[in-house]
C-alpha cells in the first residue's frame, strides 16, 4: 500500500502532525501500538515550565535561547516557535478541543497535592490562575465520590491548608456507583466518568454537592466529568454557586482520553487512516531513504511512503530500548543521543534530574533522523522520541510534541 506519509506512533505529536498533513492534502496512515501518554495528561499542556535550576518560567518564548543547542525548540527555531504557539488554540478548537490560557505566558494550575504548578494551555477541565500567589479561595469544599480512592482528598486538603485555604471534605454516595463499588479495583477515573456521562447522574451528583455547600467559595472535584462531551464541565460550573476547580486523578486521565479521541476523530475525518494496536516491526531502506515498513498485523502487505514520521514516544512509548550495553531505537536503528558509559545514564540520587530522560533519537537541525552519522532523507522524528530535553523536569512534554509535530508537517509539505 502506498501513502504520502506513514506516521509511526499515535500519541499527541503524531496526531498533530498527521492532522496538519492530511488537511493539506497528504494521504496519511498512522500506526499506533496501543494508547499513549495523553492517557496520563493532567489536562494541562506544558511548553516550558521550569528552568534547570527549578525556578518557574513566566514567558517560555523568552527562554528559548538559553536552552541547550540540541533542544527540540532550538531545532524548531525561534521564529517558528512564535508563529506556532499562536496556532495551537485554533488548531485544537478545529478538532473540538477548547484550550484555555495565554499562549505566550504561563498560567498556574492546582495539582492533586494542593500546590500550584506552571501551565501553558489547558483543556476545559483545568482552572488556570494568572499567577502563583493568587489565592485559590478562602474556603474549599472538596467533594469526592464515595469509595473513590484515586482522588486523594486528604493529601489535597493538606496542601491547600498550607496555602491558607480552609478545607472541608465530603464524599457523595450515589446508587449509580454502588455497582462499581462491588469491585474495588474498578472504582477508577474512567469507569466513574463513564457512569457520570449520563446526564441524570452528573446532575444528581452536582445537586448533592450544592446541598453540601455552606459558605465555601471554592468547590474542588476530581477530573471525572465530560468524558464524551466537554460542555458538561461548563454546565457544572454554572450549576454550582462557587468557583469549581477540577483536579487531576490517577491515570487514565479523563481529559487526556477525550483529547486523544477528538484528535483521532479529526484525523480520520480529514481522511487519514489509523491502525490501532499494530506495530511497525521492520523497514526496507535504500541508502538514506526508507522505502517501506511492515507491521505486525499487516504481515506481507508492506506500507510504502514518500515520508516517514517517527513519533514513538521515547522510553515511555517503547520508542527507545535499553539493554545492558546500549540504548537503541528499535524501528529504524537510528542514532541515539546517549553516553556510551552505562554509569552515566542515571543519577544515583533518585530525585535528581536523570540523564536518561534526555535520551532520544539524534536528528539534524530540521528534525531529520541520523543513522550511522548520516542524515536520513525522509525520516522525521517528533515528540518525546527526540533527545535533548528533560520534559518532566522542564514541564515541556506536550509543547515539544505539538511544536515538533507542526514543524515536521511543514518540512514535509516543503
Amino acid at each position: 500500500m502506498k501513502y504520502d506519509v506513514v506516521l509511526i506512533g499515535g500519541g499527541l505529536s503524531s496526531l498533530v502532525c498527521g492532522i496538519s498533513l492530511q488537511r493539506t492534502g497528504k494521504r496519511c496512515l498512522m500506526v499506533s501500538g496501543g494508547q499513549n501518554a495523553l492517557h496520563f495528561s493532567s489536562g494541562a499542556f506544558g511548553l516550558l515550565g521550569f528552568r534547570p535550576d527549578g525556578s518557574a518560567v513566566e514567558r517560555p518564548l523568552e527562554e528559548l535561547d538559553k536552552l541547550p543547542a540540541n533542544h527540540p525548540y532550538r531545532k524548531v527555531g525561534a521564529a517558528k516557535m512564535h508563529e506556532y504557539v499562536n496556532r495551537v488554540k485554533p488548531f485544537f478548537a478545529s478538532c473540538g478541543v477548547m484550550l484555555d490560557g495565554d499562549p505566550e505566558r504561563n498560567s498556574w494550575r492546582l495539582t492533586p497535592t494542593g500546590t500550584v504548578r506552571p501551565s501553558w494551555l489547558a483543556m476545559s477541565d483545568v482552572t488556570l490562575y494568572e499567577d502563583s500567589v493568587v489565592s485559590i479561595g478562602r474556603k474549599a469544599l472538596i467533594a469526592n465520590i464515595a469509595g473513590y480512592l484515586d482522588f486523594n482528598t486528604a493529601f489535597l486538603a493538606e496542601g491547600l491548608e498550607k496555602a491558607g485555604v480552609t478545607c472541608r471534605l465530603e464524599a457523595v454516595a450515589l446508587p449509580e456507583f454502588e455497582r462499581l463499588r462491588t469491585s474495588a479495583s474498578e472504582m477508577r477515573s474512567v469507569n466513574i466518568a463513564r457512569v457520570m456521562d449520563h446526564d441524570q447522574v452528573w446532575k444528581k451528583f452536582v445537586e448533592q454537592v450544592c446541598v453540601l455547600l455552606r459558605d465555601e467559595d471554592v468547590v474542588v472535584l476530581p477530573e471525572v466529568f465530560g468524558l464524551q462531551d466537554e460542555h458538561v464541565l461548563e454546565q457544572i460550573r454554572e450549576c454550582i454557586p462557587a468557583r469549581v476547580v477540577f483536579v487531576g486523578t490517577m491515570a487514565p486521565s479523563v481529559p487526556g482520553i477525550r483529547c486523544q479521541s477528538a484528535l483521532k476523530t479529526a484525523f480520520e475525518q480529514a481522511g487519514g487512516e489509523f491502525l490501532m494496536g499494530d506495530e511497525v516491526i521492520s523497514s526496507e531502506m535504500d541508502g538514506e531513504r526508507v522505502l517501506s515498513v511492515r507491521t505486525a498485523n499487516l504481515g506481507d502487505t508492506v506500507l510504502e511512503a514518500d515520508h516517514f514520521v517517527l513519533a514513538t514516544g521515547g522510553f515511555f512509548g517503547r520508542g527507545l530500548q535499553a539493554t545492558a550495553e546500549a540504548v537503541s531505537e528499535p524501528v529504524f536503528g537510528l542514532d541515539v543521543d546517549a553516553p556510551e558509559e552505562r554509569t552515566q545514564w542515571y543519577n544515583p540520587d533518585f530525585f535528581a534530574p536523570q540523564p536518561y530522560t534526555r535520551f532520544g533519537v539524534h536528528t539534524s537541525e530540521n528534525l531529520r533522523a541520523m543513522k550511522a552519522g548520516k542524515e536520513m532523507e525522509n525520516v522525521y522524528v517528533i515528540g518525546s522520541e527526540l533527545g535533548g530535553a528533560d520534559a518532566l523536569c522542564e514541564g515541556s512534554g506536550a509543547g515539544i510534541a505539538v511544536m515538533t509535530g507542526f514543524k515536521a508537517a511543514e518540512m514535509i509539505n516543503g
Binding site: 501500538g33 455497582r179 469491585s183 474498578e186 469507569n191 487514565p252 491502525l275 490501532m276 502487505t301 512509548g317
Partner: protein, 409 residues
C-alpha cells in the same frame, strides 16, 4: 517467564478504560484485575482464581488499547483453562457446538426454525436452557453451501490457473450459504479455482464455553488440514473474521496448538483480494448501475486483526458505494455470550451505542465480516447486515472482471 507478557504491565489501567463489559457488568473484575494483576496471585496460589472471568467476551479491545503489548485476554482465557471449574451445561454445549447443531438441525430445518422462532419455543429455550427469549435465532438452511458447491461448482474448479483453499466456517454452511456462493463466484472471476478443506468448526465457541478438550481437537484437526493445503501451495482463504482470528492467534496463544507453519497463510478474503489488486495481479471491474449507501461496523476481532483497512479500501473502490465507517464499538454479542440469559441485558447495553449510531446514519444496509455481529445488529436494529464478499459479488461485473483477468470461464 510467561509468553503472554504479563510482567510488561505498567499498571496504567488503560485496558479497563476500553473494556465494554466493565462498563455494564458489576460482577466482572475488568481486564487489569482479571488479567495481569490476577495472574500474579494465581501463580502463587490457584485458589485466587475468580470464576467471574467467564464474563470476559474475549473481544480483545483491552489488548488493542494496551500500550505495553500485554496479551490480557489471552491471560484471562488461559487462566480459565488452567484453573477454572466451569463445566459447560447443556445450553452451553448446544450453543458452542455450532457444527453439530447444524448437522442435526439441517434435515428438519423448517421445523427447527419454526420452533426456535415461535413464542413457545423461545419460552422453552429460555426456561429450560437459559437461552434468552428475546434472542432471534439465525435460521438454519435446508440446503448447505458444501452440497451446492459439490453439485454445481466443484467440477469446473480445476480449470482455473490459480488455486486456493476455502475455509467456509459453520455459519456459511448452515445459515448463510449465499456468502460461500458469492466467494466462489468472485474468486472464479479473478481466476482462482476454489478447493474445499477437510475442515471442522474453528472452535471459538468452545473456547468461550470452557470445552477445552473439544476446542483443542478441532484446532489440531484444522491445522493438519491447513498444513496439507499449504504444502500443496494453497493459501487458506476465509470469509469470517472471528474464525480467522481464532485459527491464527487463539490456537497457539490459548489452546497451545502450534500453527506456525500455516498462520501467515490463513487470510481473510478482503486482505487476499486487496493485496492482489494492490500488486496489480488482478483487476476489478464494477457494474455501472450499482449504487448503495452502506455503514461498516468493524467487528472486535477485525480490530484485533488490524485488517479493517483492507475491507474499507476494497469497498471504497466500488464507484457506486457510499461508505460510512461506524465509530469503533462492540455490538455486544461476542459469539454465544449474548445468547445466554444471564448476559442478555449486558449484551444489549454494550451494543446500544452501535445500534444508535446505525439508526443515525440510516444506511441501506450494514457491512460486517462477522456473522454473530450480523445476528445481533439485525435483531437489535432491523437493518440488514451483509458480508463484504457478498457486496463485492453484487457490485462487480463478474463477466467483465473475468475477461479482464483473462479467465475464460
Amino acid at each position: 517467564m510467561n509468553d503472554h507478557k504479563f510482567e510488561q504491565c505498567i499498571k496504567c489501567t488503560i485496558c479497563t478504560a476500553y473494556c465494554p463489559v466493565v462498563a455494564v457488568n458489576p460482577l466482572y473484575p475488568g481486564p487489569k484485575q482479571a488479567g495481569p494483576d490476577g495472574e500474579r496471585f494465581r501463580i502463587k496460589n490457584k485458589f485466587f482464581f475468580d470464576e467471574n472471568l467467564k464474563y470476559c467476551m474475549n473481544c480483545k479491545r483491552c489488548e488493542v488499547a494496551c500500550p505495553s503489548g500485554v496479551n490480557i485476554a489471552d491471560i484471562i482465557h488461559s487462566a480459565r483453562m488452567r484453573y477454572g471449574h466451569q463445566k459447560p451445561n447443556l445450553r452451553d454445549m448446544i450453543l458452542a457446538s455450532t457444527d453439530l447443531m447444524g448437522v442435526m438441525a439441517r434435515p428438519v430445518a423448517p421445523v427447527v426454525n419454526a420452533v426456535a422462532g415461535s413464542k413457545a419455543g423461545k419460552w422453552a429455550m429460555d426456561t429450560f436452557l437459559g437461552v434468552d427469549q428475546h434472542r432471534t435465532f439465525p435460521k438454519y438452511q435446508f440446503k448447505g453451501f458444501v452440497g451446492w458447491f459439490k453439485r454445481e461448482m466443484e467440477a469446473s474448479q480445476a480449470s482455473y490457473p490459480r488455486q486456493i483453499a476455502f475455509f467456509h466456517g459453520c455459519s456459511t454452511e448452515y445459515q448463510h450459504p449465499e456468502v460461500g456462493k458469492a466467494f466462489v463466484q468472485v474468486m472464479n472471476a479473478l481466476g482462482f479455482g476454489v478447493q474445499l478443506l477437510d475442515e471442522e468448526c474453528c472452535g471459538v465457541a468452545m473456547i468461550s464455553n470452557a470445552m477445552w478438550k473439544q476446542a483443542k481437537q478441532h484446532a489440531r484437526h484444522n491445522v493438519a488440514a491447513f498444513e496439507k493445503a499449504v504444502d500443496a501451495g494453497l493459501p487458506v482463504v476465509t470469509t469470517a473474521s472471528t474464525c480467522t482470528f481464532t485459527m491464527r492467534d487463539e490456537y497457539p496463544h490459548i489452546l497451545g496448538v502450534d500453527n506456525a507453519k500455516v498462520r501467515s497463510s490463513i487470510v481473510l478474503v478482503e486482505k487476499f483480494i486487496h493485496d492482489l489488486v494492490d500488486k496489480g495481479k488482478v483487476k476489478l471491474v464494477f457494474r455501472k448501475d450499482y449504487k448503495a449507501r452502506m455503514a461498516y461496523h468493524i467487528p472486535c476481532h477485525m480490530e484485533k486483526l488490524g485488517w479493517s483497512i483492507f475491507t474499507k479500501n476494497l469497498l471504497q473502490m466500488i464507484p457506486g458505494a457510499d461508505l460510512t465507517v461506524l465509530g469503533s464499538g462492540c455490538c455486544g454479542i461476542a459469539g454465544t455470550y449474548g445468547f445466554k440469559k444471564e448476559n442478555y441485558a449486558y449484551s444489549q447495553a454494550i451494543g446500544q451505542p452501535v445500534f444508535d449510531e446505525i439508526a443515525r446514519v440510516n444506511p441501506e444496509f450494514v457491512v460486517s465480516e462477522c456473522d454473530t455481529c450480523k445476528w445481533q445488529i439485525e435483531m437489535s436494529t432491523g437493518y440488514a447486515v451483509k458480508n463484504p464478499i457478498l457486496i463485492l459479488s453484487e457490485a462487480l461485473d463478474l463477466e467483465a472482471t473475468a475477461k479482464a483477468n483473462c479467465v475464460n470461464g
